[in-house]
């Protein structure tokens, strides 16, 4: 296997074997972020029980960093309460990935935004916002 330029091994691992890809059949909240003009779109669906994110799935159209941060975000929020999940910043995700190239840092915002949007949706559905 050849080493690739832009990303470290951890990022490449999440890019190659993204965790939690797909969509939940009966989500409690779904969210999207990004737009095709920027070349980044993420869809996320969450299943919530007792304020805890029990399951999560994503689909992402985007660069390697967008895919890896999507994957890492789902891993990090799974099992967390909604409030804990909201506290997971894009920086924390990037750090958990061992860092991103500076030019790619903006991609990490995508997953944060999509997750917020899914949580908003969940809260709306449950009359919490």
């Amino acid at each position: 296997m050849t080493q690739t330029g832009a990303y470290n091994d951890k990022v490449m691992d999440h890019f190659r074997n993204p965790r939690n890809v797909g969509e939940l059949e009966h989500p409690d909240g779904v969210g999207t972020a990004g737009n095709p003009v920027c070349g980044d779109i993420m869809e996320i669906s969450i299943q919530v029980e007792d304020d805890v994110i029990k399951d999560v799935r994503f689909r992402t159209f985007g660069c390697g960093a967008a895919i890896a941060t999507s994957s890492m975000t789902t891993e990090m929020v799974k099992g967390k309460t909604i409030d804990e999940a909201l506290a997971v910043s894009n920086k924390a995700v990037a750090e958990a990935l061992g860092g991103l190239p500076p030019i790619k840092m903006h991609c990490s915002v995508l997953a944060e935004e999509a997750l917020r949007s899914a949580i908003d949706d969940y809260r709306r559905r449950n009359g919490k916002s």
């Binding site: 050849t2 890019f15 095709p36 920027c38 070349g39 992402t60 159209f61 985007g62 895919i67």
Partner: protein, 390 residues
């Protein structure tokens, strides 16, 4: 795993013969070509041999060749230098919307300096219409700059026709031939150009050396002011090994260009049609026929180019998502936008550029791995139609 390099439009491997030719000038012969003594003479002789060879390859005279550090410098030199030298004659420049950034950014800079620039549209295949050029000419027009072969989509522009329009109207004409020189035949008189930009590393020559063809009689303000080198058109100590290597690269092109042109065209067509039939929802960008012999540019719907590139790289296959120098940029390619490609498709485009070292097996290998890669990425794409396959 054999690595397969399909990014020759970004840069080519230096030919072993070129490296060989440079060696003596990296060690034994090291004089400054401007020096009067024997060390200087050796250097000067080597430079003039290379200059004469390169000039004759394009139907030019040796004194019409000005060595530069590459295609970017050549583009900047001509466009800025000629614009400044003609400032009192007019302030209008015509170019196309699919030029390399070296031309476009230079034009933008000149707009900030009081010049006005027309960026001509292209048709869906990337062609500039010579009639559009004609219509854009005003009394203020001093320079037309249209590239010979496009570096992203491979379209070859009707340079001779545009050259004829330029001549007819007495306007100077520059063409960026970085992607074509050494790959398809070029004669400066047939093309009716006054200026040409060339970069050696795109034709198996060394990096850091290029040239500008400046037709005799064309006055131009230097970009690099200083010493008397290159008949006062480009100051700086000459890069002897670079120039010698460039000369050798042109000699090699002279001997195999026509054969490679047909050989690579066949591989190119096999790759393009193979990909289009193996991967659903894909399309070829650029002109179907008037295109560089080594360029295949394909959009794969629903996926993003970087993901494709990284997956191919893991297979040892090197391609590009666009013009190499902006592959770190976020905006979709200005060239793909100019041919009217929707942004999602633009984001999912790959450029495969073939070379002397590309074999039939390399092409088959790409055709073999590509569908799976697209499929995997589509499976995680929110844009893909449910159940879409590669």
């Amino acid at each position: 795993m054999k690595r397969i390099y399909l990014d020759h439009a970004a840069t080519t491997p230096t030919a072993p013969e070129v490296a060989q030719a440079m060696l003596p000038y990296l060690s034994g012969v090291y004089g400054n070509a401007s020096s009067l003594h024997s060390f200087g003479l050796e250097a000067r002789t080597a430079v003039e041999e290379a200059r004469a060879r390169i000039a004759s390859f394009m139907g030019a005279k040796p004194e019409e060749i000005v060595f530069t550090s590459g295609g970017t410098e050549s583009d900047n030199f001509i466009i800025k230098g000629f614009a400044l030298s003609r400032r009192n004659k007019g302030n209008h420049i015509i170019t196309s919307s699919i030029e390399h950034h070296a031309v476009l950014e230079t034009c933008k800079f000149l707009q900030g300096q009081g010049f006005s620039v027309t960026y001509l549209p292209v048709d869906e295949n990337g062609l500039v219409n010579p009639d559009d050029v004609k219509k854009a000419i005003t009394a203020e027009t001093i320079l037309i700059s249209v590239m010979h072969g496009n570096n992203e989509i491979g379209t070859i522009e009707p340079i001779a026709e545009i050259g004829a329009v330029a001549r007819e109207h007495g306007v100077a004409f520059h063409s960026d031939a970085v992607q074509t020189f050494g790959h398809i035949p070029i004669d400066v008189n047939d093309l009716q150009v006054d200026f040409l930009s060339v970069s050696a590393h795109k034709l198996y020559g060394p990096k850091g050396i290029g040239l500008t063809y400046v037709r005799n009689g064309m006055k131009i303000i230097p970009l690099l002011h200083g010493g008397d080198q290159e008949r006062r058109r480009r100051a700086s100590t000459l890069n002897i090994p670079g120039i010698v290597g460039f000369g050798r690269a042109v000699e090699l092109a002279g001997s195999d260009m026509r054969a490679e042109l047909s050989r690579q065209s066949v591989l190119r067509d096999r790759l393009a049609s193979g990909l289009l039939s193996a991967v659903e929802d894909s399309r070829l960008n650029g002109h179907p026929i008037r295109r560089l012999p080594n360029n295949v540019n394909i959009s794969f719907a629903f996926v993003e180019g970087e993901g494709l590139l990284l997956n191919l790289d893991m297979e040892g296959i090197a391609v590009s998502t666009g013009s190499a120098c902006t592959s770190s940029s976020l905006e979709p390619s200005h060239v793909l936008a100019a041919i009217g490609l929707p942004v999602e498709l633009a984001h999912g485009s790959l450029r495969f550029s073939l070379g002397r070292d590309t074999t039939q097996q390399d092409i088959e290998r790409v055709l073999q791995v590509m569908p799976g890669i697209v499929y995997r990425l589509r499976a995680m794409s929110p844009l893909a139609r449910k159940g879409a396959t590669a």
